[in-house]
């Protein structure tokens, strides 16, 4: 962080190597659009390079990076026509169908499909959430940020963040319990 404040350019390269992937994935989760995610992260990393006074980071590096990225992503969501978010189908398809991850080979195809189906329901429920709840879910559960970092990224107090997280979890739980009673 201090290297960045001092304008060390190699520091930016290191940031790209260290956080590039996870930030990209974060953007992708936020905006559902690979190309746009790529652009945003590129832009954020370039912001780090610039010597503008406004770009000087404060606080923890990871939290700060997330804050900048999150703000950019939200700008994009608001700027772009609504069809960007609505057409999440394609992204989901790519993520779900082309994954190289082997699925538990012990269970039957039917059982696995049901399990898959469950995960998909969860994913759809998350996609349908309001932006302010969705982002805490993404940041905390999917990006694996600590609650303090989530608070930093969304610019909220720690207790406010915790409350939002609890609300989001509760909403998801209640929504999903209505769908099916079989275990996940």
């Amino acid at each position: 962080m201090s290297r960045l404040q001092a304008g060390d350019e190699d520091a930016v390269v290191d940031i790209g190597a260290r956080y590039g992937l996870e930030l990209r994935l974060f953007c992708q989760r936020m905006v559902y659009n690979e190309a746009m995610a790529e652009d945003i992260v590129q832009d954020v990393l370039m912001t780090c390079c610039r010597h503008d006074a406004g770009a000087k980071p404060t606080g923890s590096l990871r939290g700060w990076l997330y804050r900048v990225t999150r703000n950019r992503a939200i700008d994009e969501i608001r700027r772009k026509s609504p069809n960007v978010r609505l057409s999440a189908l394609g992204t989901k398809d790519a993520m779900w169908s082309n994954s190289a991850i082997p699925i538990d080979p012990v269970t039957t195809p039917a059982g696995k499909a049901v399990k898959e189906d469950r995960a998909r329901q969860v994913k759809m429920a998350i996609d349908a959430m309001d932006e302010d709840l969705r982002e805490v879910v993404i940041l905390y559960f999917f990006q694996g940020l600590a609650r303090e970092q989530v608070a930093e990224a969304i610019g909220l107090t720690l207790s406010g963040t915790k409350a939002r997280l609890a609300k989001a979890t509760r909403m998801l739980r209640e929504q999903l319990s209505g769908l099916n009673d079989s275990s996940l």
């Binding site: 370039m46 057409s87 790519a94 190289a100 699925i103 039917a110 696995k112 999917f142 609890a166 509760r170």
Partner: protein, 903 residues
């Protein structure tokens, strides 16, 4: 602890974040409160599901990042370590994209700062690419224009291709659009996009002033392009990222000649270098390289200008394929619909530049620049908005056969010259335009939904359009609803226009629908049209495909030709997808699955409120899942099946009053052996199964669900309805009227009633070989071989064999039922007579089915099960697979089945 407090702690508890005493208290509460216990479990499950999603997404993302870094990796490292590339000292990275990384660098020999672009490492593996790069860069280096970033040097150093340009200390238009769109509007300084859009910004005059500034900026770009085009250099990758705003307040084009490198097949194949397709022209999207000329740049310029005017991209989508599909098929939303302050003239200029057909765009960047300057100077622009008449002119141009008529029309208009004639002519033109719109809607979008088209045709009818055009459209509109009417109209059109093959194919199609097969009349029409040179238009290819719909290969070929002639031909893509579904069903092969997905996904994009393409796609994925399952690839199967379910539900979501989505999901559950679910979905589809076909299908598939679930009465009721829906001539009617009900009765233990029912079926149709042989075969399956033989003996001289081709099959069938020992011999023999693929398939399925029924009647349970299973799984013939499935699924549920009484 109360429930309210407990709920707040669920998440912390599952994550193990609670202090021990609190955790203990919560657990104690949960032990006594069922609701909280469930809530806790649900939270645990939720976290588990999210963990799985997370892993999956991360793996997918890591895989794609790996692919990317393989192509960019080399340059990335060299940039970091070397710090030096020949004459250039690298200072730092200032940007990167598909075409490499740009560094701020110092040219040591001249001691000047440059922007150095280093191309990705993949280039050095392709020598022709290096040569081409050097050649292109040389051409680009010769360009000297205020609005083009000068190229200082280009070359290759230790395998790295580089390109040194003047260092522009400014932002790209892309960045400006994202961050400070106000900079594109000189006056007033505070007029940002937000201001303009919310109407709270400057007064109209100031607004116009700011658009003049933007027009001037873009005119500069067009002039730069024009200069390059005149030197024979096409940019091919105009987009906001490639337009840099320098200190002089002008936009400068960069990266000339680089996009050309993507033509190198070995590079394009890696697919990694290509950036966003959002600015590509239709001819680039279709890969028609010969069609690429200066007008490609004009299109991309138009898209860029559009974004500058509205702040959004005209063709947007979540994936590459979605974007390219929209470029091909969607007309951009007029900019003024997004931002009403955009001046009409700029909208006109922008849309003209973005015409899909190159011939309709500005012919040169010079003309484009001139119009932008005219706007900036407050003079009228030269092009006009496409009006009614002009649009019909364009249409005539696209339909050269009609240009004679149009010529006449012009002569008459000029000659008469009176207001009255002009009005009549205008109405006539409008009428023709409406007819054309209706026709295109039906031919390109969906012929089965003629409502809008009928409305247009009704309106056109009063305007005196060309009669043959009107009747051709009427013919097409009536095709699905009233083929007789369609034939009347089309016969008339064909008589009027004996050399036009398009209406001939249409007529052949209508005749095929009416006869429900390609009979001699249809064949004659086809031969005649083929003799006249075959289909001349995309839609004629589609029509021909529809005539030959049962000859899958031929139909597939026609749909592909149609799609080739008219990129983004929705209806052709849809039917191609349908044909490929059939192909997959019959061939049990995934060979064409990719094409199937591509075609139908493209249709889903365009028809975003239609269940049908999603239904077809769902079936495709389900079939793929079944094929994987049969091959023992359980993982792959699970993925495809899950996708099938998702698509089925998607179909229900987008069009909830269509049966398709529910049917697709029902079929999914049937594959999953969850018959309750399948039944539930079939029931859901019932209110929407109104037309006879879907209605019959509902009962045809529902009764057997009832049968498998042991709902005998419901099964019998469905069979009864089904038999009533079938006409007396339908050969399958005997199944539903007598045979399947007999099976259900036997399953209930009422074997005597069953036998009675079967015998009655045969007696009612003593001349139908199908009725008699099928009845005999069912008797055998109820373990009554003597009764079966008696029946066959009784009727063997009365039955009428079906005409040619089928006779041998029938003969084989007959003998098979009569002399079980010779089944194999006769069925094999029968199959040797079969010629068309359809007959061969049916014959093969029949062979399996008969052998299975033979084993079944001999109470050789295991063998019967295996053979029915093979028949069902071979997808050879829908009829035999259908029957085989009735048995095999029943046997699956109860290994001891059947135990007919009175054995």
């Amino acid at each position: 602890m109360n429930c309210e407090t407990a709920q707040e702690l669920f998440l912390d508890c599952v994550e193990g974040e609670l202090d021990a005493p609190v955790a203990a208290e919560l657990k104690a509460h949960a032990a006594s409160c069922a609701r909280c216990k469930l809530g806790l479990q649900q939270t645990r499950d939720l976290l588990g599901a999210m963990g799985r999603i997370k892993e999956k997404e991360e793996a997918a993302s890591a895989a794609s990042a790996m692919k990317r870094s393989q192509s960019l990796g080399r340059t990335w490292r060299s940039g970091r370590q070397g710090g030096r590339l020949g004459d250039f000292e690298i200072i730092r990275e200032i940007g990167r994209g598909g075409m490499g990384i740009v560094y701020r660098a110092r040219q040591v020999s001249l001691n000047r700062l440059v922007a150095l672009k280093v191309l990705p490492g993949i280039f050095r593996q392709v020598p022709t690419a290096v040569t081409r790069f050097l050649k292109e860069a040389q051409a680009a280096a010769k360009l000297h224009h205020t609005n083009i970033v000068p190229v200082y040097a280009q070359g290759e150093y230790e395998g790295h291709c580089y390109y040194a340009m003047e260092l522009i200390e400014g932002d790209s238009l892309d960045r400006i659009l994202r961050r400070e769109p106000g900079r594109l509007h000189e006056h007033p300084p505070d007029a940002s996009f937000a201001g303009l859009q919310s109407q709270t910004g400057a007064a109209a005059g100031g607004r116009r002033q700011s658009y003049r500034f933007l027009a001037r900026l873009m005119a500069g770009v067009a002039e730069g392009l024009d200069h390059a085009h005149k030197q024979g250099v096409i940019h091919r990758d105009i987009k906001p990222q490639n337009l840099l705003m320098a200190g002089d307040g002008q936009l400068h084009i960069t990266d000339f000649g680089l996009a050309r490198l993507l033509d190198e097949p070995s590079i394009t194949l890696t697919g990694e270098m290509v950036g966003t397709p959002a600015y590509m022209s239709p001819e680039q999207v279709t890969g028609d390289r010969s069609a690429i000329d200066q007008r490609t740049d004009i299109f991309s310029f138009g898209v860029t200008f559009y974004e500058a005017l509205t702040g959004v991209r005209p063709f947007e989508g979540a994936t590459r394929d979605q974007v390219t599909a929209r470029i091909l098929t969607r007309e951009p939303k007029p900019p003024r619909k997004i931002n009403p302050h955009v001046p009409v003239d700029l909208e006109t200029i922008c849309l003209r530049a973005m015409e899909k057909e190159p011939g309709r765009r500005y012919p040169s960047a010079e003309k484009l620049a001139a119009d932008l300057r005219r706007f900036a100077d407050d003079r009228p622009i030269l092009i006009r908005r496409a009006g009614v008449v002009e649009r019909s002119v364009k249409w005539v141009r696209r339909h050269p056969a009609l240009s004679t008529i149009y010529g006449l029309l012009i002569v008459m208009t000029i000659g008469a010259g009176t207001w009255r004639v002009q009005t009549v002519k205008a109405r006539h033109a409008r009428g023709n335009e409406l007819v054309r719109e209706a026709y295109e809607l039906l031919a390109f979008e969906d012929y089965r939904e003629p409502r809008v088209a009928f409305a247009k045709l009704a309106e056109a009818g009063s305007m005196g359009p060309d009669e043959w055009e009107l009747r051709k459209a009427m013919g097409l509109a009536n095709l699905g609803e009233d083929p007789k009417k369609a034939i009347d109209h089309l016969t008339w059109v064909v008589a009027q226009r004996p050399a036009d093959t398009e209406p001939m194919y249409l007529l052949a199609w209508a005749l095929r629908i009416q006869a429900d097969r390609v009979d001699a009349v249809v064949k004659e029409r086809l031969a005649k049209a083929d003799g006249l040179g075959g289909p001349a238009t995309a839609q004629a290819h589609f029509f021909r495909g529809q005539v030959l719909v049962r000859e899958e290969d031929e139909a597939e070929k026609e749909y592909r030709l149609a799609k080739g002639l008219k990129p983004g031909y929705t209806q052709a893509l849809l039917h191609l997808g349908r044909a490929l579904n059939h192909w997959m069903y019959h061939h049990r092969s995934l060979e064409k699955f990719g094409e199937l997905k591509d075609s139908l996904n493209a249709v889903c994009l365009v028809q975003d409120k239609k269940a049908y393409p999603r239904y077809l796609l769902s079936i495709g994925h389900r079939l793929a899942g079944e094929i994987h399952q049969a091959d023992g690839k359980a993982d792959a199967a699970a993925v495809e099946l899950a996708r099938a379910l998702e698509l089925a539900q998607d179909a229900q979501r987008v069009e909830s009053d269509s049966a398709r989505g529910y049917v697709a999901e029902a079929e999914y559950w049937e594959t999953m052996r969850n018959y309750e679910k399948a039944l539930e979905l079939r029931n859901k589809s019932e209110p929407y199964c109104i037309k006879p076909e879907p209605k019959a299908e509902l009962f045809q598939y529902r009764w057997r669900l009832h049968f498998w679930l042991g709902h005998h009465e419901a099964a019998l009721k469905d069979l009864e309805t089904l038999a009533a829906l079938r006409t007396d001539t339908d050969p399958k009617r005997v199944w539903y009227l007598g045979l399947f009900p007999a099976l259900v009765l036997a399953d209930q233990g009422k074997v005597d009633q069953a036998i009675e029912k079967i015998l009655k079926t045969a007696t009612e149709k003593p001349t139908s070989f199908r009725a008699v042989t099928a009845a005999a075969s069912f008797l055998r399956m109820l373990w009554k071989p003597n009764e079966a033989n008696d029946l066959l003996k009784q009727y063997q001289n009365q039955v009428v064999f079906e005409p040619s081709g089928r006779a041998e099959v029938s003969y084989g069938f007959m003998h098979a039922c009569y002399r079980p020992l010779n089944i194999h011999h006769y069925t094999e023999k029968a199959t040797t007579y079969l010629t068309t693929p359809e007959e061969v398939r049916a014959g093969r399925a029949m062979m399996f089915y008969l052998q299975a029924s033979d084993s079944f009647s001999g109470a050789n349970h295991d063998s019967a099960f295996r053979l029915f299973w093979v028949c069902d799984d071979a997808y050879d013939s829908e009829d035999y697979c259908y029957m085989a499935r009735v048995f095999v699924r029943r046997m699956e549920l109860d290994p001891a089945w059947p135990q007919w009484a009175g054995k």
